[in-house]
């Protein structure tokens, strides 16, 4: 297992010794050298990951490329998560493709709900398994690969052909990003979480204000953030148009890594002056925020929403907010009440381990008794796949990361995004409500 970290640990950073942030240093140490923003560079991958949606196209391209082996079977991770349990015959075939690829190329890191002991949503699962180390570079066949920034790793999302090439060569081409230091100032108010920090960023950047850039999160609040909240923060970096989001490991992350015997990279330190841009985000006394359809960056404070937005569904899950912390916040938001009549509460623990822990804590029992439906770990309805699709005219509040038109189902359905505590209070009310008032 430790072989996985050879590249990450042997990285040398920029030779011109100009100040730089984590992103630039990680790219430099993976082959980009002193390449300037805008320049193209080829960088090596410590890990290449794909799922059941990106996988089938990637493996076909891989074979058409004439590749007969993956660059390193130990550095390839396959996760069936989008359409599991298979929702139909086609989905079953996608998962079977992934499984066959694992067998043919000797890939041990294969995870499929039900078939392997550990399984779940890729971006939650990989860190849980100890596969994400600070300073490493992960090429993932999924846009939310940026989640790994929570651990000081550079997660970059790609399409299937890029992943195919990375599987064959162990490297990808990148455009060197301009870096943006996000400076959080102040302490958020009650009932907020990592979700609200990133929504506060998106409120300022809009959906493309950070296009092609790399976000790095700074500030006391980031230093104090839990691992789960850091994952929520980094997960939605791409919703600003950025290619990645990252924060320097804090005590919580180091404890997480130690528990999984993942080596630390003490040499990797961000230079405060090493950024192309700085964006100050004042989060002092921040209230819970909500992103309104159809734009994750259409963010307003919850008390600015019109009242009485009735909900057909509340969905708690996905790679941004399906963690144990989220389930706890959901239960806190419900505050002992039942789910309102006429509203479905779908709860999707993001991994088997989270599901087990939530059972041990009694959260699952509390949720089921309150009327929630527990969905097994899957990307599910977040991307309009299955397990909670919205019909025409239906409205949902979700802890997911995208609320584009028709994202969770019918083109004329609506998705609002919030943290899990807001989701809990709203599930009890049957409408979007402020947990501070309920």
């Amino acid at each position: 297992m430790h072989r996985l970290w050879e590249v990450a640990l042997s990285t040398t950073y920029r030779s011109d010794s100009r100040p730089a942030g984590l992103t630039t240093k990680i790219l430099a140490g993976h082959g980009a050298g002193d390449a300037k923003p805008g320049a193209l560079a080829t960088v090596s991958c410590d890990l290449v990951m794909m799922n059941d949606v990106s996988g089938s196209l990637a493996m076909r391209a891989f074979e058409r490329m004439g590749a007969v082996r993956v660059f390193d079977p130990e550095r390839v991770v396959l996760v069936a998560d989008h359409f599991v349990p298979a929702k139909d015959v086609r989905s079953a075939e996608l998962v079977a493709d992934l499984r066959r690829f694992a067998q043919r190329y000797g890939i041990e890191h294969y995870y499929e709900l039900g078939r392997t002991e550990e399984a779940g949503i890729e971006h939650t699962l990989l860190p849980e398994l100890g596969l994400i180390a600070p300073g490493s570079l992960i090429a993932g066949g999924d846009s939310h690969t940026c989640t790994y920034g929570a651990f000081g790793a550079l997660g970059l999302g790609f399409g299937s052909t890029d992943i195919a090439s990375a599987l064959a060569l162990g490297e990808v081409w990148v455009r060197m990003p301009e870096t943006i230091r996000i400076e959080f100032v102040g302490q958020p108010g009650p009932w907020t979480a990592g979700k609200d920090l990133i929504l506060a960023v998106l409120r300022q950047t809009g959906s493309s204000g950070a296009a092609y850039g790399a976000l790095e999160f700074w500030g006391d609040v980031v230093d104090e953030l839990s691992v789960d909240d850091r994952m929520a923060l980094c997960n939605m970096a791409i919703e600003s148009g950025a290619k990645s989001g990252i924060c320097a490991p804090n005590a919580a992350v180091l404890e997480w890594l130690d528990a999984r015997s993942v080596p630390r990279v003490d040499a990797l330190v961000a230079d405060e002056e090493g950024y192309d841009h700085v964006l100050r985000v004042d989060v002092d006394g921040l209230p819970p925020l909500v992103a309104c359809p159809p734009d994750p960056a259409a963010v307003i404070a919850i008390d600015e929403l019109p009242s009485g937005l009735r909900l057909d569904q509340v969905y708690v899950g996905n790679c941004s907010n399906g963690t144990l912390s989220d389930l706890r916040q959901l239960v806190a938001g419900l505050a002992g009440r039942r789910v309102a009549r006429g509203t479905r509460l779908m709860v999707v623990p993001a991994s088997n381990a989270i599901h087990r822990a939530a059972m041990t804590e009694g959260l699952i029992e509390t949720l089921v008794m309150a009327g929630a439906v527990i969905v097994p770990p899957t990307c599910g309805a977040c991307f309009g796949g299955h397990m909670g699709i919205l019909g025409r005219g239906e409205r949902a509040l979700a802890t997911t990361n995208r609320n584009f038109r028709g994202r969770m189902g019918h083109a004329d359905s609506e998705v609002y995004l919030s943290n899990a505590a807001v989701a809990g209070a709203s599930a009890a009310a049957g409408a979007i409500v402020d947990p501070r008032a309920s």
């Binding site: 089938s56 399409g159 148009g241």
Partner: protein, 172 residues
């Protein structure tokens, strides 16, 4: 598809923030056949445009074309329809990569987005970085592709580029 021959096509204008969920909805991601994916291209775009997209179409979009999901199926569907090129005020990063990786030219030209009308016939010359409307001779400039991206497009995409790379490394 080498930059020497100008690309030609009729423009279908889209909008700002046309994300990949709009280009190809998530419910179709269980499909892998490009022709089948193409049936659902821009199915949810308002006003309806899907019927007008075919061989020789140039898709012209505004800000952040292709934002969101990394689903390459979205570009695969565009290619399967016979689209000649993508032009946008700006592209989302992964969508741009997916396009050039599949050999589909994608150029950033905010002025063209501002000026060129739906239905206009245009030619695009990657080598000189110009988009021309022959009917009145109007010309718009865009940054020429970087040498690497030009190589990718000349090879027909990353698949062929990597195939050559593997062959030159003497390993598969």
């Amino acid at each position: 598809m080498n930059g020497a021959t100008p690309l030609a096509g009729r423009v279908v204008r889209l909008g700002d923030d046309v994300n990949t969920d709009i280009v190809l909805a998530g419910e179709y991601l269980n499909m892998t056949d490009p022709d089948e994916l193409a049936l659902h291209l821009l199915e949810r775009f308002e006003p309806p445009v899907a019927d007008r997209i075919g061989q020789g179409t140039v898709l012209l979009a505004g800000r952040a074309f292709g934002g969101g999901s990394s689903r390459e199926q979205a570009v695969l569907a565009i290619v399967a329809r016979g689209v000649t090129a993508l032009v946008a005020a700006s592209f989302a990063r992964i969508f741009f990569r997916n396009a050039v990786n599949l050999g589909l030219p994608a150029v950033e030209c905010p002025d063209a987005w501002r000026d060129v009308a739906d239905g206009d016939e245009v030619t695009i010359d990657l080598a000189s970085g110009t988009l021309t409307r022959p009917v009145d001779g109007a010309v718009w400039s865009f940054p020429i592709p970087s040498p690497f991206v030009a190589d990718l497009l000349a090879a027909g995409g990353l698949e062929e580029w990597t195939r050559q790379r593997l062959a030159s490394l003497g390993s598969g």
